[in-house]
C-alpha cells in the first residue's frame, strides 16, 4: 500500500490546485478583505452598488487580459524592463476599458469619474502580473485573474451594497424602504467607506479566526481516524 498512496495524494493535490487557483482569490486570499489591496477604488467608488459592480468588472477585465498577455510574454520579457512592460500592458487595457465604457454608457462613465484611469495604478493588477502571471502558465494565470477579479468585484459589491442600502435606502436604484426612511447620508460620504470597510474586515477576520481554531481539531480527528484504521 505504501508506494501507491503518494501518487493518489499527488493527483488529488493537482486537481484541487486548479480549482483552488480560482477559489483562493474569491475567499482565502481575497484582494480586498484579506490582502487589503487597491483601497483607493474600494473606498471611493463604492457609494452605490452599480458603481461598485462596474468598477469591479472593469478591474477584473483589465486583470484578466493583462495576466493573459504577461503570461504569454513571460519568456520574452527581461527582468530589467519587466515593470515598465507590465505597466504598459496594464495601461493599454485600462485605455481599452475606458473607451468601451464610454461607448456603452456615458452615464456610468460620468459616475466613475477619474477612477477608471486610476485602475492603471491599482496595485492588485501589477501585483498579480509580477507575483503570478510572470511565473506561471497561461491557464493558471487566467484562473488566478478570474478568481482575484471575482473576489475584487465581490468585495466591492459588499461595500457598495451596504453603503447604498444604509446611505440611500436603495439597492441598484430600487427603493427598499417606505418613504419615511431617513437615509444615513454619512454612509455615502468618504467616511462611510471607512466605516463599512472596517466592519467587513472585522467580520472576515472573525471568520478566519474561527476557521483557524477549528483546523487543529479537524486534523486531530483525521489522525484519530487514521490510527483507528
Amino acid at each position: 500500500m505504501q508506494p501507491e498512496k503518494p501518487i493518489v495524494i499527488r493527483k488529488e493535490v493537482v486537481r484541487r490546485g486548479s480549482a483552488d487557483e480560482f477559489l483562493k482569490g474569491l475567499w482565502r486570499e481575497n484582494p480586498v478583505f484579506v490582502q487589503v489591496l487597491g483601497m483607493c477604488p474600494v473606498l471611493a467608488v463604492t457609494n452605490s452598488a452599480i458603481n461598485a459592480l462596474t468598477m469591479g468588472l472593469a478591474t477584473a477585465f483589465v486583470l484578466l487580459l493583462s495576466n493573459l498577455l504577461v503570461s504569454c510574454l513571460r519568456h520574452y520579457i527581461p527582468p530589467q524592463v519587466r515593470i515598465a512592460t507590465f505597466i504598459l500592458i496594464i495601461a493599454t487595457f485600462v485605455t481599452v476599458v475606458d473607451y468601451l465604457i464610454q461607448a456603452i454608457s456615458l452615464e456610468i462613465h460620468k459616475s466613475l469619474g477619474a477612477f477608471i484611469s486610476l485602475i492603471v495604478v491599482n496595485c492588485l493588477i501589477l501585483g498579480r502580473a509580477e507575483a503570478f502571471a510572470s511565473r506561471n502558465s497561461i491557464g493558471r494565470s487566467l484562473l488566478d485573474a478570474l478568481g482575484m477579479g471575482a473576489g475584487f468585484t465581490f468585495a466591492l459589491l459588499c461595500m457598495g451594497g451596504v453603503r447604498e442600502i444604509l446611505g440611500g435606502g436603495t439597492l441598484f436604484g430600487v427603493a427598499l424602504f417606505a418613504d419615511n426612511y431617513q437615509p444615513w447620508v454619512v454612509m455615502i460620504l468618504p467616511s462611510g467607506g471607512f466605516f463599512t470597510l472596517g466592519a467587513w474586515l472585522l467580520l472576515f477576520n472573525r471568520i478566519k479566526q474561527r476557521q483557524q481554531r477549528k483546523q487543529p481539531r479537524l486534523q486531530a480527528r483525521l489522525q484519530e481516524m487514521g490510527s483507528e484504521q
Partner: protein, 233 residues
C-alpha cells in the same frame, strides 16, 4: 524562465521586449479607439440633444450657432471649428421652424470640481425655462442634489432674466436664497445640505446670463431667420 534567470542580457533582447510590447499595445489602443469612436460620438451627441430638448420645452429640432469675432453668430456645421465649446450655442425650433429658445452651456467652480450646465433661454418671455447639469463631481447625496432635487430644478422652469430697457444688461442678477425663501422671480431656492453647490449653480448662471442674454437678444433676427430657412429646405 531561463531568460529571466540570467543577469546578462544582450541589449537587443531588452529592445525587443519594449518595442514589441509597445507595438502590440499601440495597435490595440488605436483599433479599440477607432472601433468605439462612432458609438462614443453618438452617445455624446444624443446626451447633448436630449439635454437641449429638456431645457427648451416644445423644441424638436436644433441648430448650432458659433460666435465669431465676439459679436456675430453663424450657423455651425461640420466645417466650423468648434474647439471653444463655450462659443457654440444651440437654438431650438418648434414643429414649424419657429424659434423656441436658445440653449447655452456654462461652467464654473462647484464644491469639488467644475460644474458644467446647460440652460434654456426663452427670448419671448425673457426667462430661463430649464437647466440641466451636464457634468459635476459634487458630493454624492449632498451636492449632487443639484442634479436630482425636484424642488430645486423647479426654480429653473420660470427664472426671470429680463433685460433693462436699453437691452444691454440683466435687470436683476440671479441670486440663490435660503431654501423656501424665494420671493422674487429671479431668485433661486437653495438646497439644504447642498448650499455651496446650489450657490455655485446660481453663480454660474449669473455670470453666463450677463454675457450671453444681451448678446442673444441683440441678434435674435439671426436665429429666427436660420430657423425659417431650415424649415423651408
Amino acid at each position: 524562465m531561463k531568460i529571466i534567470a540570467s543577469d546578462k542580457q544582450p541589449a537587443w533582447i531588452v529592445y525587443r521586449a519594449l518595442v514589441g510590447v509597445g507595438l502590440v499595445c499601440a495597435l490595440m489602443i488605436v483599433s479599440v479607439f477607432l472601433l468605439t469612436l462612432s458609438a462614443i460620438e453618438k452617445n455624446r451627441s444624443e446626451a447633448l440633444a436630449q439635454a437641449i430638448f429638456t431645457v427648451l420645452p416644445g423644441a424638436n429640432t436644433k441648430l448650432a450657432f458659433a460666435l465669431t469675432g465676439g459679436e456675430h453668430f453663424v450657423v455651425a456645421d461640420a466645417n466650423t471649428d468648434a474647439s471653444d465649446a463655450e462659443a457654440v450655442i444651440h437654438a431650438g425650433y418648434g414643429a414649424h421652424g419657429q424659434l423656441i429658445g436658445v440653449a447655452i452651456e456654462a461652467q464654473g467652480m462647484g464644491y469639488q470640481d467644475t460644474i458644467r450646465i446647460l440652460y434654456g433661454y426663452i427670448p419671448d418671455r425673457q426667462v430661463i425655462a430649464g437647466m440641466q447639469v451636464l457634468e459635476s463631481k459634487e458630493t454624492p447625496g449632498l451636492g449632487s442634489k443639484i442634479e436630482t432635487d425636484k424642488s430645486f430644478l423647479k426654480n429653473f422652469s420660470q427664472l426671470d432674466v429680463s433685460l433693462t430697457a436699453e437691452g444691454s444688461a440683466i435687470k436683476n442678477a440671479i441670486v440663490a436664497v435660503k431654501p423656501g425663501q424665494k420671493t422674487e422671480p429671479w431668485e433661486i431656492d437653495g438646497i439644504t445640505g447642498a448650499t455651496i453647490s446650489s450657490k455655485a449653480v446660481a453663480g454660474i448662471l449669473r455670470a453666463s446670463t450677463r454675457r450671453w442674454i444681451p448678446l442673444v437678444q441683440r441678434h435674435l433676427q439671426v436665429f429666427h431667420a436660420a430657423g425659417e430657412a431650415h424649415s423651408d429646405s
